[in-house]
């Protein structure tokens, strides 16, 4: 390894650790959130250094876009009176013993992980790639070899939306007082780009890094930006159409998973000649649905201006 590379990694990881500590313990809550967002940015660079561009894409789209927006919006929604939300707990006072425990744990963990041989499954993946229906190994693992994990994960995301909506309606501070004349112009300019790059990433997913998650995250970022610029969810879109869009990804995934049983009677066994097209369909449906679901997660509750919807 090149010494400059080594130095770069060392500095990168050091700043990540410092930012992580700041993100947890900074005196000022806003500072903690900003530090955590920067930590997310650097994490994306770390994925690049680890030769994991797929994760870097997802982390960039989520970390730089949605996670930060979610945290900052939460900060804005929290009561500013200075009263903090806390849990009553007994053993939290003594920070020092926990610190010692943490250091011991770190050393132990490092010692163990350094000794691991890490055989991995790369050869098995390589052998199965010709039958996978896509060229990108990560997409093949996500949407073919381990597609059941991905399906459940989309279920987790939809479940998160249901869970948030079950808490009540959205609590957006809906009308910011500050005028921001440049913002709508920016959004008008950027929104087509968001759509374009969403589809670009979806298309890329078949052969290289890309795919449903980063694409969905980018779409969501575009939608959130539009909401922040003052756009409202159009009234004819809320209610049933919105719910259907949210549910579409999981339903499409389930239908494909069960539908392919017509071929060989095995759950999720794509028929080889149709595998590419089926995977592409699942990818597009999942990507768009993930975009809508992430936007719903940002909203934090069912959009309020619904008629005939929730009472």
């Amino acid at each position: 390894m090149h010494p400059v590379e080594m130095l770069f990694d060392a500095l990168l990881l050091l700043s990540m650790v410092v930012l992580a500590w700041q993100g947890v313990h900074a005196r000022n809550l806003f500072r903690a959130v900003v530090s955590f967002m920067m930590f997310g940015l650097l994490t994306a660079v770390a994925w690049v250094r680890l030769e994991a561009p797929d994760i870097a894409l997802a982390e960039a789209a989520l970390g730089a876009g949605l996670t930060g927006a979610l945290l900052l919006a939460t900060l804005g929604r929290l009561d500013q009176g200075g009263r903090a939300t806390r849990l009553r707990t007994t053993f939290m006072r003594f920070s020092l013993p926990w610190m010692a425990l943490g250091l011991a744990g770190t050393t132990l963990l490092l010692a163990v992980t350094l000794a691991l041989p890490a055989p991995g499954l790369d050869e098995a993946v390589l052998r199965a790639m010709p039958a996978a229906g896509v060229d990108s190994p990560v997409t093949a693992v996500l949407l073919n070899f381990r597609a059941w994990d991905t399906l459940l994960e989309i279920a987790v995301m939809l479940l998160a939306v249901v869970a948030l909506w079950s808490l009540g309606q959205d609590v957006l501070a809906s009308t910011p007082r500050l005028p921001a004349p440049a913002l709508p112009a920016l959004v008008r300019l950027l929104f087509p780009l968001f759509l374009l790059s969403t589809f670009y990433l979806l298309w890329r997913g078949g052969h290289g890094p890309g795919g449903a998650f980063p694409a969905g995250a980018l779409l969501a970022a575009g939608l959130v930006l539009a909401l922040l610029a003052g756009a409202r969810v159009p009234e004819r879109m809320t209610g049933a159409p919105l719910r259907c869009a949210l549910a579409a990804g999981l339903l499409a995934f389930l239908m494909v998973a069960v539908g392919v049983m017509a071929d060989r009677g095995v759950f999720f066994a794509y028929p080889p000649q149709h595998a590419p097209i089926l995977i592409a369909m699942v990818e597009i449906a999942a990507g768009l649905s993930i975009g809508v679901m992430l936007t719903a997660l940002f909203l934090g509750g069912e959009p309020t201006d619904v008629e005939g919807g929730p009472s």
């Binding site: 849990l87 499954l121 199965a128 279920a155 249901v162 998973a257 060989r264 095995v266 009472s311």
Partner: protein
């Protein structure tokens, strides 16, 4: 005409709840017939699967046709199938109870009615996916589905205490998932496989990764199963949730995490289970048994008492680890699984009956409960039967389970654990007896306008409690499966 194949039944069991939940959410309506039909179909599928397993034994179903170690497998085991059947019974009972408990109301209760069923089905789907999974990472995702759905169910009433309990539960659950995932990472770094059977084949207790991974997996699951001293989140979450929610959480969700402990320690990690590990896990169990039992004895509120009883009962279940040896492994696993099944049925019955009694009495203080009169007497009957099953009076399922463990303890000469078991049973008897005594001999006067107790509020609890009592006869049968969890 024969039953559908095992593979088909598994697909139905894991996809139908998710699909129904999604459709319910998308439509925004709660058609009662659709819900009950889906629940009934799931229950039938689980029962049919039980029959199949009795005939065929353990079977493996690769998903997508990809073989291990690359692909994910479903594995149908007797242990998992018992849990699937119990889940289906409790799930069906909860769905029926839920239609009676929520559906006529408007206002905030109407909101609860709208989201209860989708969340319930998501949790059900997560549970089913977990009981057939045989892959470390797949188990992680299934655990997350289950946990997130449970948290949302706890927060259902949106009251402050419920929200606080849900938050605590979410943090504990996520902490558990995170540590579990660390264990997955360590084991993957050591062996490069995720499939449980493949892992069992290559597992070597001497490797550093195997030990550290086992510790991490266990700590994560202990937090999720609320084993003492990581039980702090449970009483609030279970005591403050709505009754059908508490029934599922106490009966199934905690049990699922514990089932996973069994599945791992008697599956891939079996080589690591030596005397020291067993004693440590057993000591935690003994602590839980005492702590939960004593606190249950001290509670004044009915549902909090039942919640602490859950802490105590899972302490009892932890005793399977010190009792297991190479010779009695299958009997002990059978005992542990039956204990979980008994607890699921009895505790769900207890929580459902408690919900009915609290509604009838308009108070959840034990001292203010209505007596054995009117329609409330059916709820009391369910409480009595469920208590018998929890204590382990013959011929309940609880008795069969405890009997298996007792035999193992006597054969091993493990007198300490035997003493702990007897002490725990006495404590159970004490706090349940106190409930029955206070309420039956010294009841509060009936409220002037008692609310209507419909069949939906009475029957599910009664049937579950009856099942817990009757199934003990089946469990003493001789043609029980020999191997409950595939070992190494």
């Amino acid at each position: 005409m024969g039953l559908p194949s095992t593979a088909t039944l598994v697909v139905i069991l894991v996809t139908l709840p998710l699909a129904t939940a999604t459709v319910l959410f998308a439509s925004g309506r709660q058609p009662r017939t659709l819900i009950l039909a889906a629940a009934l179909l799931l229950a039938c599928a689980a029962l049919a699967l039980g029959v199949n397993v009795q005939l065929e034994g353990i079977s493996v179903h690769p998903i997508g046709g990809w073989t291990a170690p690359l692909g994910i497998h479903w594995q149908v085991t007797p242990s998992g199938t018992v849990m699937l059947v119990v889940t289906a019974l409790v799930g069906l009972a909860g769905a029926v109870y839920g239609t009676g408990y929520f559906l006529h109301r408007a206002g905030p209760e109407g909101r609860m009615a709208r989201v209860f069923m989708p969340l319930w089905l998501f949790a059900w789907g997560g549970l089913n996916a977990l009981f057939v999974a045989a892959d470390l990472f797949n188990l992680y995702v299934a655990l997350e589905v289950m946990t997130l759905a449970s948290v949302a169910l706890v927060a259902l009433s949106a009251r402050r205490l419920a929200l606080q309990a849900a938050m605590r539960y979410l943090l504990a659950g996520l902490f558990g998932s995170m540590i579990y995932l660390l264990g997955v990472a360590l084991l993957y770094g050591q062996y490069g496989v995720l499939d449980l059977d493949a892992l069992a084949a290559v597992m070597d207790p001497q490797d550093p990764g195997s030990r550290a991974g086992a510790v991490a997996l266990t700590v994560g699951l202990l937090a999720k199963a609320a084993i003492f001293p990581l039980h702090f989140w449970l009483p609030g979450a279970h005591g403050r949730a709505e009754p059908p929610v508490s029934a599922m959480l106490s009966g199934l969700v905690v049990a699922a995490a514990f089932y996973l402990l069994l599945r791992l320690w008697f599956g891939p990690l079996a080589g690591l289970l030596n005397f020291g590990v067993g004693a440590m896990l057993g000591t935690l169990g003994a602590g839980a048994l005492l702590w939960g039992g004593v606190l249950a004895l001290l509670q004044r509120r009915l549902k909090m008492m039942v919640a602490y009883s859950t802490v105590s009962q899972f302490g009892f279940a932890m005793l399977v680890f010190p009792l297991a040896t190479a010779a009695n492994r299958d009997a002990v696993v059978a005992g542990g699984t039956l204990l979980l099944a008994n607890h699921a049925l009895a505790k769900a019955a207890l929580f459902l009956a408690a919900g009915t009694l609290v509604r009838a009495s308009a108070s959840d203080r034990i001292g203010n409960l209505v007596g054995f009169s009117g329609r409330a007497r059916w709820a009391w009957l369910a409480v009595i039967l469920a208590s018998a099953a929890l204590i382990g009076v013959p011929p309940t399922l609880g008795f069969s389970a405890k009997w298996l463990l007792l035999q193992a303890a006597i054969a091993e000469g493990a007198w300490v654990w035997l003493g702990v078991m007897l002490g725990g049973t006495l404590l159970t008897f004490a706090y349940l007896g106190r409930l029955l005594e206070r309420a039956l001999l010294d009841p509060a006067p009936e409220p002037t306008r008692p609310p209507l107790l419909t069949l939906a509020l009475l029957l599910p609890a009664l049937l579950l409690a009856l099942l817990a009592c009757v199934l003990g006869l089946w469990a003493l049968d001789d043609d029980m499966p020999t191997q409950w969890i595939p070992g190494s």
